[in-house]
């Protein structure tokens, strides 16, 4: 199906049926994603790079200079690949969390994944040097990544344990416990930051604001399987998330095993956000703004929402990264600053425009 036929389908769709619209949006987003990937690959400090030539040479068609091959395949490609993966992961995790908490303002940050991962990373940066040598040898340069992932998972499991009683997980308790745990990890993080040296402080600042500048293939491949698994699992939650919009009780009346789906949703989010935060640091707002925007355009049915969130999340992260690269060139801003500067006002604007629609 091409864009024109997809657009025609939206015109003949029955009233209230926004599936054709979602299909049209998806095609548009795929085109935009390809464009952003190419732009992102072509945009850099080293000019005159033959992007297309190097890309084709990489898959065995034609030839390109060693310089171009290195720039495209070893420097820019891991960065772009990381951007796509993490952008998709954050947006999908946001949509799943919002569906689970039945609240358009929910964010992976709420279930303590981000706070826990942040604590893990900060602890690794500051205290990592104190670990015995054999552990440092084992994890090598992945220490921060590994600690962040572990921190994210541990805090999620803890919250899940606190909120689950007699086989029933209370979403409200989990939300409140997440706030408490966030405050606690925040304090612990603050204490460790207090201990940090000046050099470590700079690392911490950059980590906290998020960046995909330091992306490498090994880091990418460390996180990719986890995030990919979560992205593949997410669409299977679509029907349950739709049903959950009616509340847990009604969801079970129409045939959803709500306890099972809550468990899967929480673990999916914890794994994918933990893995994302661990390789790029904290990047805010994508998880809230992207699903929200798409819901306004194509409606809240998750079967179409989740894949489109993945596409738009990837696009937004790539675009934010391009802005981060040019705005103070030749230096680079942390990407978290860009997403917050763009996302904050944009989100407020959405809220103001749609006050009536948001009321539940």
């Amino acid at each position: 199906m091409n864009l024109a036929t997809a657009y025609k389908a939206t015109l003949s769709a029955p009233a209230g049926d926004r599936r054709a619209k979602a299909a049209f949006v998806r095609l548009g987003l795929i085109a935009l994603l390809i464009l952003s990937i190419l732009l992102s690959l072509g945009w850099g400090a080293a000019g005159d790079t033959d992007v297309i030539g190097a890309l084709l040479a990489g898959v065995g068609i034609g030839e390109a200079s060693l310089r171009d091959m290195t720039i495209i395949w070893d420097i820019r490609m891991p960065r772009v690949a990381t951007g796509v993966l993490v952008g998709a992961s954050l947006a999908v995790a946001g949509a799943v969390m919002q569906g689970l908490f039945r609240n358009p303002l929910a964010d992976p940050g709420l279930v303590g994944v981000s706070a826990g991962a942040g604590f893990g990373a900060v602890a690794a940066i500051v205290l990592g040097g104190l670990l015995p040598f054999f552990i440092l040898d084992l994890v090598g340069s992945y220490l921060v990544t590994f600690a962040a992932f572990l921190g994210g998972w541990a805090s999620t499991l803890l919250l899940y344990g606190v909120a689950t009683r007699g086989g029933h997980t209370s979403v409200a308790t989990m939300l409140l416990a997440g706030i408490a745990l966030g405050a606690l990890t925040g304090a612990l993080t603050g204490f460790i930051v207090y201990l940090a040296t000046d050099d470590q402080l700079r690392d911490l600042t950059f980590w906290g604001m998020g960046s995909i500048a330091g992306s490498t293939w090994p880091k990418f491949f460390a996180a990719a399987p986890i995030i990919a698994a979560a992205l593949i699992a997410a669409p299977f939650l679509a029907r349950s998330l739709d049903a959950l919009a009616l509340g847990e009780s009604v969801a079970s009346h129409i045939g959803i095993d709500t306890q099972k789906m809550k468990r899967i949703a929480i673990m999916t989010v914890a794994a994918s956000v933990g893995a994302s935060v661990s390789i790029t640091g904290g990047i805010g707002f994508i998880g809230i703004v992207v699903p929200h925007l798409l819901r306004l355009v194509q409606g809240p049915e998750h079967k179409n929402l989740l894949p489109n969130c993945a596409l738009l999340g990837a696009i937004v992260l790539l675009v934010a990264d391009m802005i981060a690269r040019v705005i103070v060139a030749p230096a680079e801003l942390p990407i978290g600053i860009i997403t917050a500067v763009l996302g904050g006002p944009f989100f407020l604007w959405i809220l103001l425009r749609n006050r009536g629609v948001l009321d539940m």
Binding site: P14, A15, G16, D17, R18, R102, N103, P104, R239, D242, A243, A245, L246, G247, S249, V250, S252, H253, I254, G255, I256, D257, T258, R295, L296, G299, P300, E301, G356, V357, D359, M360
Partner: protein, 267 residues
């Protein structure tokens, strides 16, 4: 085929909301639970729909409710709650589609999408498909939810098994015209072989549409049987704590309940 609830007790904290109440509903009939506020009627319904923990046993078409899978139950019974909210801006069409979550095995129709439109037509909401649920009035919202419930158990009998509608105060938000419409839809469902279990406040609608009435007060069953036997002056006045008198005006055969309170306009 029946819904059988045996010796159901429910406690909220230290409060005994239901005390060994038994209830039976036969397929092909309209059974109504009535009683004053706090008598436990919604609690009894919520126990039967699996929404709260209870002591005692509940079975549906012979299946024990506690140990039957969520999906399997969803294929034989649908539930209309007292009020429901929906998170996110779903359209009416998308809301009603959610009733089809239990899937193809829960209907004989090939064209599931057509069911959605039939149900909306039945509750008088044709033409509202594209409206957001949040934009509807309270009564329209309740009818849209009823359409969602109806598509879930569209055939009153499927594969020889009767299916069930559990309705918690289905008409409390509706004007009198729509009250009758909804009661008639439920009545038709029962006459086609399905079972209806409803919690009601309106005693006259109850008397008009029910085959069987169960009267609860203070968590206990006061009486159960045909409307004429249960809705008597004595039963009602003691249970509701106010003077009520029943009457049977022709041509209507059932009891007609009139409040006989001490003071009203003109007295």
């Amino acid at each position: 085929m029946q819904v059988i609830a045996k010796d159901i007790s429910v406690q909220f904290g230290g409060f005994q909301a239901l005390n060994k109440v038994s209830f039976q509903a036969k397929a092909g009939t309209f059974s109504t639970i009535v009683g004053p506020n706090g008598s436990g009627k919604t609690t009894l319904l919520r126990a039967m729909t699996g929404d709260l923990a209870y002591e005692g046993d509940i079975s549906m078409n012979g299946l024990p409710a506690r140990s039957t899978k969520t999906l399997e139950l969803a294929q034989i019974r649908a539930v209309l709650p007292q009020s429901s909210t929906i998170a996110f801006p779903f359209t009416v069409l998308e809301l009603v589609r959610l009733g089809l979550t239990a899937g193809l095995s829960s209907t004989q129709t090939d064209n599931l999408e057509a069911l959605v439109h039939l149900a909306l037509n039945k509750v008088g909401l044709s033409g509202y498909e594209g409206h957001l649920v949040q934009e509807l009035s309270g009564g329209q919202r309740q009818r849209a939810q009823l359409a969602r419930v109806l598509v879930q158990v569209w055939e009153p009998i499927l594969n020889g098994q009767p299916r069930w509608l559990f309705l918690d105060e289905p008409v409390s938000a509706l004007d009198i015209g729509h009250q009758l419409l909804i009661m008639q839809i439920a009545r038709e469902f029962a006459e086609a072989g399905g079972g209806v279990v409803a919690v009601m406040h309106d005693l006259n609608l109850t008397a008009m549409f029910s085959d069987q009435v169960t009267l609860l007060a203070q968590g206990e069953c006061v009486a159960s049987g045909a409307p004429k036997e249960v809705l008597t002056d004595l039963n009602l006045s003691t249970s509701y704590g106010c003077a009520l008198r029943t009457n049977t005006p022709p041509p209507f055969e059932g009891p007609w309940i009139l409040p006989q309170a001490a003071q009203w306009r003109g007295h």
